[in-house]
């Protein structure tokens, strides 16, 4: 028997009755509960109307009607309810969250009833789902119209709370959740950005008035810390967690950075303990990688204060200071070492720094660095360059700084660096002997012998030396054999310097170049013009390195060689010619080689060293104890390595696993938490 055809009007009437009941149900009005049976009936009605054969297949009309229903509901019920409450901020918010919640219930119910549409018709026609359409209506008809009013209402509440009044946090939270449900970008752009601006101006006003009021610095700091704490609480109560860092930054900026000079003056004048903000200020400046004169003064001031606390008997403040400051400068070890470098070289604006100053600064920076091994590594690299490139800092001076660093840091902190300075002293003595050995002048060769392992490892590349240089190397080797037997000398030409006389048309100019560069130039003694290939064949240098060398001689500021074609980069088809027309104002010119940024390499090296250190420590501990549980092994490990760095449990676990694969350790079969040493 053919099922009875449901005609549209009839069918829709039935469904509409159901929807009306649903609406009332969603508003939690006193109605008989909407039963599962009723849902099923409606669902079935929809289903039937969709599977009827054409022209009684009413899928499209149903979809249409459903959308219209939602839109109509918005316009007839939701919007008027909200508009009614526009006068009262708080009531508006309450109404909003309630209507939103009800509306979601309704839309969800509708999408359940019309689910059959969703599965087939909507998918087939690639239409937006009922939920999407429903949410869209709310967004377009309510959110877009009212959100700025809503925002104002919320911000007003926030300011009220700041002034100490109690507000309805629940409602505020639900409002912000609503923003987030509409979309995270909406939250950020339509609310958060305004909230941050509002916060900034609020605290700007407060800061100015507090500073004016001639508060003692202690009170100011106390008030500021309180505000920060409250703002953080605010986030946990109703803001989105991602707002916290942005909010904190704004508040810190207004309360501390804007008035930093006054704060520091006050602190210094009153000799009070106000370390938190100082750490914050310091941090903001340290994060900026180019330190300029302004920071120098600032940092100087911080260091003076540090001194004050070192001297006082106030241990509490001492440790607090370091803890705060340490946190503030975490991760800027490269920066600190650079800072040290500049200070030691007195390259600091126009102010002359006394030896004492320098020592204080270096000690201070070494102390606050948490990962001493990274700091030490950077410091060592910079020290090496200072020593090798003869930057005019006295050995005694370097030594005295190292002594102070050693006092502050137990362990192997300065071992290598002291050895480095010794190497230099030894080399200088050697040099005198070498001069005597050579007797006949003619070879102007100065050699610095570095003990491998003590100095940072330097990359160098081989090159075919010209005869004159080969002879020099041979002579020195012979000499060195007379001093010490059985040592292997590896020449690091990349660190060498040559003074080459360039006989140019206008005048002779002395060129200060690296050894590698000199070798390239000397090729042009026999031939005026050489192709890239010629040069490469004669010198036997890799492509990358050779490009680097030739670039420095032909594309930089001083063009000793003319490159054909005169493009910006060096390629394999280029031809080079001695630039006889070259001239310069001075009679001595340095041709620099572009430097490679090696910060990454330092960190890689330190990471490698750390891995070895952890491995060695684990093996040592396990060899002694034979069997140990994980927790104990970790704590012993951390204790033994604590001087230089703090290994985290994850790294230790990884090293243990590695040692297991290398058959140093095994996991106990019965107790997986226990490890055994494998002899």
């Amino acid at each position: 028997m053919e099922p009875k055809i449901i005609d549209f009007e009839q069918g829709w009437d039935y469904i509409e009755t159901g929807i009306t009941a649903l609406k009332r149900h969603s508003e939690s009005l006193p109605v008989p509960k909407f039963t599962l049976e009723q849902y099923c009936d409606l669902y079935t009605a929809v289903y039937k109307m969709c599977v009827q054969k054409s022209p009684y297949d009413f899928s499209s009309q149903l979809y249409q009607k459903c959308c219209e229903t939602m839109e109509e509901y918005m316009n007839s019920t939701v919007l008027p309810a909200l508009n009614e409450k526009l006068g009262d901020e708080y009531m508006l918010l309450r109404e909003l969250v309630e209507r939103w919640s009800n509306y979601k219930v309704l839309v969800r119910a509708l999408s359940h009833i019309f689910f059959y549409l969703q599965r087939f018709f909507i998918v087939r026609e690639s239409l937006p789902s009922i939920e999407t359409v429903g949410m869209g209506y709310f967004r377009d008809l309510v959110y877009n119209k009212l959100q700025s009013k809503v925002r104002e209402a919320v911000l007003a509440l926030v300011d009220k709370e700041r002034e100490g009044e109690d507000i309805d946090r629940k409602v505020t939270k639900r409002v912000l959740e609503f923003y987030i449900e509409i979309g995270m970008e909406r939250y950020e752009q339509d609310f958060e950005s305004f909230m941050l601006k509002d916060t900034a101006s609020y605290y700007s006003r407060k800061a100015s008035s507090w500073i004016q009021e001639d508060d003692s610095i202690n009170d100011y700091i106390f008030k500021s810390e309180q505000c920060l704490q409250k703002e953080k609480e605010r986030v946990s109560h109703y803001l989105h967690f991602s707002s916290e860092p942005k909010l904190v930054k704004v508040v810190e900026h207004e309360l501390f950075v804007v008035h930093e000079n006054q704060i520091l003056e006050k602190t210094h004048a009153e000799k009070q303990i106000g370390l938190g903000p100082l750490a914050k200020i310091f941090k903001q400046h340290v994060e900026d990688t180019t330190i300029n004169a302004k920071e120098q003064v600032l940092i100087r001031k911080v260091i003076e204060l540090h001194e004050v606390y070192m001297v006082t008997e106030c241990f509490q403040s001492h440790t607090l200071f370091h803890k705060d400051l340490k946190r503030a400068v975490a991760g800027s070890d490269a920066l600190l070492a650079t800072f040290c470098d500049r200070i030691i070289l007195k390259k600091w604006g126009s102010e002359e720094l006394s030896e004492e100053d320098i020592e204080k600064v270096v000690m201070f920076l070494a102390y606050i660095s948490d990962e001493k091994d990274i700091f030490a590594e950077f410091y060592r690299k910079k020290l090496a360059l200072r020593l090798l490139l003869n930057r005019g800092v006295s050995d005694d001076h370097e030594r005295s700084i190292l002594t102070k660093l050693k006092q502050q840091n137990r362990g192997q902190f300065t071992f290598k660096m002291e050895r480095m300075i010794n190497d230099l002293t030894l080399s200088r003595e050697n040099q005198n002997s070498f001069k005597e050995y050579v007797a006949k002048p003619g070879i102007g060769l100065t050699v610095t012998v570095l003990t491998s392992g003590i100095w940072p490892s330097y990359k160098t590349f081989g090159i075919n030396l010209p005869n004159e240089m080969v002879k020099c190397v041979e002579v020195f080797k012979e000499f060195y054999e007379t001093k010490t037997k059985g040592r292997k000398l590896t020449w690091i030409h990349s660190l060498g310097t040559c003074h080459v006389n360039g006989k140019f048309d206008q005048k002779s100019i002395e060129l200060i170049v690296s050894t590698h560069q000199a070798v390239v130039l000397l090729l042009f003694n026999t031939k005026d013009k050489l192709s890239y290939n010629d040069i490469q064949t004669q010198l036997n240098v890799g492509h990358e390195d050779l490009v680097w060398l030739l670039y420095s001689l032909s594309c930089g500021k001083y063009k000793i060689l003319i490159k054909e074609p005169a493009t910006e980069t060096v390629s394999r088809t280029d031809v080079f010619e001695f630039n006889s027309k070259f001239t310069a104002r001075m009679c001595r010119v340095k041709i620099p080689l572009p430097h490679v940024n090696d910060k990454k390499k330092v960190i890689e090296d330190v990471d490698k060293d750390r891995r070895y250190a952890i491995d060695a420590t684990i093996v040592r501990i396990m060899k002694g104890k034979k069997a140990l549980g994980l927790q104990q092994l970790v704590s012993e490990c951390v204790q033994q390595l604590n001087q230089m760095f703090k290994p985290d449990i994850k790294t230790i676990k990884m090293r243990i696993e590695d040692l297991i694969t290398r058959d140093y350790l095994e996991r106990d079969r019965e107790n997986p938490n226990m490890f055994r040493y494998l002899a």
Binding site: I649, K653, M654, E657, R667, F675
Partner: protein, 232 residues
């Protein structure tokens, strides 16, 4: 297979003679003779599948065996059989190994073997045995000498086969994780056993009793964090 079928029927009617085979016919009717006959039957079954030149059952033979047993080639029960006979080399059964398993299962014909499989499975799934079986599964796949690790692809298939029926969710998620991460290209025995422990001890998928500071292998720590980030 007609010959084995006839052999079966012959057995049912208490044969007093042995058909020609590689073993010597023994005319006595003592129980000793009977066990010899069984051995011979087992041997004969072996030779049905063994490679004639090498004298062992090779991968081709195992495939034949699988189709006789009406069991898919990649079925866990073949692995279980291998475990039972402590087969040393993946894809090969020696005569000695074969005898160990079939004697234990009291099977000397293909049908008896087939009927013994459910019993075998039950045996393997006993908690004490299963751990051993699980470890064996890993070792069984190590084909090169001194090989200690298995590639991720192999591990995924193995996990599915060995733990798929008991820890479906854990296996699915973990396999998904393994295929998406880039840090590990292979798994070793310690990590393999770690996962078994994980399935048994850690409530899933909430993993509330998992602790990063315990001695779980790092790969499971990473898996845990990956799961957490997905659940957020």
């Amino acid at each position: 297979m007609p010959r084995s079928a006839s052999k079966t029927s012959k057995k049912r009617t208490q044969p007093d003679s042995v058909t020609s085979s590689a073993t010597d016919p023994v005319p006595s009717a003592s129980s000793k003779k009977k066990s010899c006959k069984e051995m011979d039957a087992t041997d004969q079954l072996f030779y049905k599948y063994a490679n004639t030149s090498s004298g062992v059952i090779d991968p081709e033979g195992i495939e034949k065996l699988c189709s006789s047993l009406k069991v898919p080639h990649t079925d866990i029960r073949i692995l279980m059989l291998a475990w039972r006979m402590k087969a040393a080399r993946q894809g090969y059964f020696t005569k000695a190994e074969w005898r160990i398993a079939l004697t234990a299962l009291k099977a000397d014909t293909i049908n008896k073997l087939k009927k013994a499989l459910p019993e075998l499975e039950k045996e393997v799934r006993k908690p004490l045995n299963f751990r051993d079986f699980y470890a064996y599964a890993f070792k069984y796949c190590l084909t090169e000498e001194r090989q200690r690790i298995l590639e991720i692809e192999t591990i995924c298939k193995l996990l599915d086969m060995v733990l798929g029926s008991t820890f479906r969710a854990q296996v699915d998620y973990f396999v998904n994780y393994l295929n998406n991460q880039k840090e590990y290209k292979a798994i070793d025995m310690d990590q393999w056993m770690g996962f078994y422990r994980f399935c048994n001890e850690i409530s899933f998928p909430d993993m509330i009793n998992y602790n990063l500071e315990h001695s779980w292998p790092c790969i499971l720590d990473n898996f845990f964090e990956w799961m957490r980030s997905k659940q957020a």
